[in-house]
């Protein structure tokens, strides 16, 4: 039973790593969706919604301020600022992660040097999305050998039971990600899109002293 459910060591080690990469991918997609939904306006945009090259136009927030003109009259100016530059953009990344589990080595199998190593018959590693493992040559000179194992437990209570019941402990620390180059470019575009113009419609009469 245990032998059948055994996986290659690289799979046992690689699965939580792949899960973390998947988690970071999801976080990046969530950031992209946040930017698109909050920062851009697609109303009246005819381009298909699934077109990644078209986000729509930047959503702006308008501010007004008054300034004394050259001849002493008070004039009103309109400042349009991209909404995205007014809010913090959530971009999380895994700062560090600690995966704590013990592995019970239950088997060692000889694999053909010329073929990709498979852990289960009929199941290629590429099907699982995990690249083929590096294997260590047996010093005895009888080809490549690969270890097989399953999750073990260091606790005496659990070691008496099926070792698959052992739990994996994962500690993760998240932090706000450094600004990726693409996001930096977006900030630059937003800076350039701050526009100041005189609000002629709402031009104010000179204030009485």
């Amino acid at each position: 039973m245990i032998r059948n459910s055994a996986l290659s060591i690289y799979q046992l080690l690689g699965a939580p790593l792949k899960a973390m990469i998947d988690a970071e991918t999801q976080a990046a997609l969530a950031t992209a969706e946040f930017i698109e939904r909050i920062g851009f306006d697609r109303s009246g945009d005819e381009t298909p919604r699934d077109d990644p090259a078209h986000f729509g136009k930047l959503r702006m927030v308008t501010f007004l301020h008054e300034k004394k003109g050259a001849n002493g009259d008070i004039r009103q100016f309109k400042i349009e600022v991209p909404l995205l530059s007014l809010i913090p953009i959530p971009a999380l990344q895994i700062k560090d992660a600690e995966i704590d589990f013990s592995i019970l080595i239950i088997d060692e199998v000889k694999v053909n040097e010329n073929t990709t190593s498979n852990t289960n018959p009929g199941e290629t590693s590429s099907e699982q999305g995990i690249p083929p493992p590096f294997t260590l040559k047996n010093l005895g000179g009888e080809g490549i050998r690969e270890m097989k194992g399953t999750f073990g437990s260091s606790s005496s209570e659990n070691s008496k039971r099926n070792s698959l019941e052992a739990q994996m402990r994962v500690k993760m620390r998240l932090e706000q990600a450094d600004i990726p180059a693409g996001l930096g470019k977006l900030f630059h575009i937003m800076e350039q899109n701050v526009s100041v113009s005189e609000d002629t419609i709402k031009a104010l009469p000179e204030k009485t002293k």
Binding site: I38, V61, I79, L86
Partner: protein, 81 residues
Amino acid sequence: MQPANPSTTPGVPCPDCNFRIPVTIPMLLMNDAIFCNSCGLKLSIDREQSEEGLKLLQNLNEAVEKVNRVKSNPMEQHQVF
């Protein structure tokens, strides 16, 4: 802790002195105006022109408040979601 990058800190560049006026979401939702910390210039928020954006910020702010409430009191989760 490094100082925040001015271009990535949420805010508005002052049109008079170019000082970056820091802005928060509650500030935009609750105040009618923001002031430059350097020259004191008053920037009034045009709520009419910015209605759609402010509505989105209102929704975002409510979601953030809900998450903060659940974080501070996990038992409240059933009532919030």
